[in-house]
Amino acid sequence: MQKVQVKKNSYYDSVTLMLISRDVGSMEGVKEVMVGMGTDLNLELTEKLGIKSPELEGLTSNDFFIAADVESEEVMAALEAKVEELLTAKADAGASDYRPAGFDSAMQTMDLNLALISVAGQYAAEEADRALDKGLHVLMFSDNVPVEDEVRLKEKARGKDLLMMGPDCGTAIINGVALAFANAVKRGDIGIVGASGTGSQEVSVLIDKFGGGVSQLIGTGGRDLSEKVGGITMIQGLEALIEDEATKVIVLISKPPAESVAAKIYEIVKQSPKPVVVDFIGADPQPIRDAGGFACVNLEHAAAQAVALSRGQSPEDLAPLDEQWQKKAREVASELSEEQEYLLGLYTGGTLADEALKLLGNQLGGIYSNIAFDKEHQLDDLSDLNRHVVLDLGDDQFTQGRPHPMIDPFTRNEHLESDVSKQTAVLLFDCVLGYGSHPDPAAEVAKSINKLKENGITPVAVGSVCGTEGDPQDLQASQKVLEEAGAIIFPSNAKAVEFAGLVLGQGRA
């Protein structure tokens, strides 16, 4: 039976409700359930679940609802009680903290200097406007903000000499403080400006691993280097880091920018008195070198070059995996069955998935993906995965009404358990630690790998853990739990991808 409960004018944030939705979804007697605010998207998702009720009509984004298909009245009562319990537990956790209702009262609590905005996209620009008017720098995590608003807000911020990071900015480290999805990296003299969230995380983590440190990590949001936005935030960030006394080396990370934007950036790189490492992932390295910048073959190379330069050394090429790893690749490949032919990459970090596609695409004669570079390899139908596939599970199509898989590994677990098959030769994955991420993503991947083994599915599992010793999750324990599940773990995605290539290259690809 279909049941609906509505509470008018009760607001809870979307991630809280998505996690609750998932928790109560596994209760006995619950066939389908949606717990959410009455946004258009949530109402549409509810309809897709086949739940219809006049009570849902006319709801607004200020109204809370539970819509469920349950076996009995008793199940619905238990469901409502459970949701109430989870919401109360949430409310109690932050009950002692004073929460000002408006900007003016918030500004009186302390000398604020940055606003971190993660409300739904349709409201985010208005809040950013207000923050900029109050003289605050802004990190806008929210996405689905029109590009016209982005341009307007960034121009406004630039006019006030404020930073407007985002929209859709997932990562920043300002003055050693991790904002949104970022890692606890050591402080140091390498400044980063990044348009790619997990790309910036990977580079900052590897700088830490190589013994360097980060002065600032300025996020720009993924559209910053487009023709329309013109690289406003990257240019501001680059100029600020050139001026910053604590920064000796600068790293820029982005997908290839629009030509006109790249030209502007190369001009500043040319004039920079400080070395600039440029990883415009997959872009032609020649214009970077012509501008006096240091071009990169992958994210690890960006980090390694930056650390070498900060020590006054000349950057070197990355050494390929040594004979010991080549032997290991031959060994594990020899244990594969005849039918185990394909690569399956299941990523939570978009830039890391992108890196896998770029580094392995040619070797494997093309990889199918939901974020493919060409139409031919665009994968829309997930029912046929008997080919080389890499999925970015953080992409919009997988996150409708669900938290990002870095927050909640549920989506990836589902794909691990349904997509990996007896034809999968290599399972490639990332495991991103740090603030914002799930408390133990490694254990979740390990759990799924163990389940696959129970079903007789045993691909070579290859992954990397993007994390530091200082992260809230335990880095060592994360690596250990994955290795105990039989996975081969590398310190970088680039190395994991290289190893996957070696295994697949043993007469199989």
């Binding site: 200097n113 940055l114 409300v119 930073l163 003055n175 600020a240 001026e243 910053d244 914002g436 809230p472």
Partner: protein, 57 residues
Amino acid sequence: MKLNNLFKSELKVLNIGLEGFYNDLKQQKTDTVWLNWKPRSSSNKKSMSLLDKLRKK
């Protein structure tokens, strides 16, 4: 420039939105305040723009 002043100041963050980000900042012992945010006027754009006009007066 103001932007570089930010790098020399102690970061103090106004969190507008997700509770998790607020908790992460507190865990890092960063001064932060969490706005008790609610969507305005149920996304009624017309009334929002009227409110904006009133606010500017």
